[in-house]
Amino acid sequence: MTDRTDGRPHLAVIGAGPAGLTAALAAAARGVRVTLVDSAAQAGGQFYRQTAPGLGARRPQALHHQWRTWERLRDGLAGHVAAGRVTSLTDHHVWFVERQSGTTGGAPASFTVHALLGPEQEEPVTVHADAVLLATGGYEKVLPFPGWTLPGVVTAGGAQAMLKGGLVLPGRTAVVAGTGPLLLPVAVGLASAGAKVAALVESADPRAFVRHARVLAAHPAKLAEGAWYAAELARYRVRTRVRHTVVAAHGTGRLEAVTVAALDGDGRVRPGTERRIPCDTLAVGHGMLPHTDLAEALGCRLDGVDVAVDDEQRTDVPGVWAAGETTGIGGAALAGAEGGIAGVSIAARLNSRIPDRSSYASAAKARAGMREFFAAVDTVCVPPARWAEHVTDDTVVCRCEEVTASAVREAVDELGAGDVRTVKLLTRAGMGWCQGRMCGPAVAGLARCPETPSRRPFARPVPLGVLAREPGEPHDTSPSTTGWDPS
């Protein structure tokens, strides 16, 4: 079962972003054989999303920050791949990680990683390993508002991903809106690539950072980064409106304008402050959420919506580590620090040793500092407290199943639904293709219940042909249905 042909322990890393890459390099350098699995066409993850090679970018770094770190990761990966220590599998979408507990007394567990190949995701592939690192990152959270389903309205990170990967813009005139630190690189990225950024609309009040002055003072690099963004925004003449929110997007068949308004101290729109900004692109985001499906299916404990880990980045399931944004949102540098610690721990533990804490003490210090910084950011960059009040009854909340706010409200107010699961059963909100990833926070907010991670059978839609296949049987090449009912 476990493939230990060369006697070296084998680690499967799922996710080749800063966390997974740093971990893979640290583990490989310590004698672990690593298989790095990622669904994207190239390693890099979200922060270091690479431009497609066919586009021949001579200066890809113009779209990136911390390019040196990327060069180190990229070259390190290439070296380990050439030496046969790391196998990098791109275009592999992992839908399930299976754990076989040791059969004979005290034998360690082994793992089978189930993936689907290629963008069509129909051909199954499995990877066997002695340990697994979940480094699957996160995805963006967007709360609904009237008009948010119009073409031209995209997630802030999505606009950035399409720009970095395909060198394209969705339009000419953009508004970047929502809350959180991701809005800054997105606004600057779009502007530097030639879009007119008509406004950067941030709902938070930056003055709230004053309460965290001590934490900020401990992070001069972060302050310098903030100042750099401010200068770039000024250079591109991007007007920043803080304590403002997008109350509606307008257009017929395509975005034509947004209405932006000022917020009062309670998160209510100040009457009379509404103004219409013509634009063909709205890049909007209200923070990020971690991908936790694989961890949950393995039975890992969550802490709120994050995968819970100890000082060594171990989950509570033996043999399973987690690092990066899957354990909590905090940016690329934190993801890298966590990945490095995980790699050191995995290499030691797979050889039945206790890792020497001094070997990762500086990474642990950086991790503590960045976690503290992002905890402060999290308390400041919150969506407007009363966002749900601006969601009109006819606004679609679940984009897949086209469930409106009125249906969700009716389920709560008239049918007595008290949690997201009941709302889902009554309305179908969250039952479509995306399995509630897009509408989860909105449904929870409208139903006034806590945001809980929604349990999904698999991390990806799985063709029935793959699920039905007996082990060893040749796979069905023409599966047409998925493992759940998306239609």
Partner: protein
């Protein structure tokens, strides 16, 4: 500053362009672009209509999570335009509803 494009910004020395069709109309694609990127470059932002109210949709998340960008490629429906690379001669069609009854 003069108006620039994303291609100028990174000094892209791209390989030869090729064509695909979208609802019968020919569009030019640069090598490596996904179907969504190709459609955006051609100024197209929607390529699906929803099952219920027939509303137009295109890219939303841009990273394969939301499934809003579903499209029909060479007769295969439910392909995520933001993930699938465009290939010369692809026949791309707007997907109506589930795409199975049109």
């Amino acid at each position: 500053m003069t108006p620039r494009t994303p291609l100028d910004l990174v000094d892209a020395r791209r390989g030869p362009a090729f064509t695909v069709t979208f609802d019968g109309r020919e569009i030019t694609v640069l090598p490596g672009q996904t179907i969504a990127a190709a459609l955006w470059s051609a100024g197209i932002t929607s390529w699906r209509t929803t099952r219920g109210s027939g509303e137009p949709r295109g890219v939303f998340c841009g990273i394969g999570v939301c499934f809003d960008c579903l499209v029909s490629v060479n007769g295969r429906v439910n392909q995520r335009a933001c993930l699938v690379p465009a290939e010369a001669g692809d026949v791309i069609r707007t997907q109506k509803g589930t795409g199975h009854h049109d």
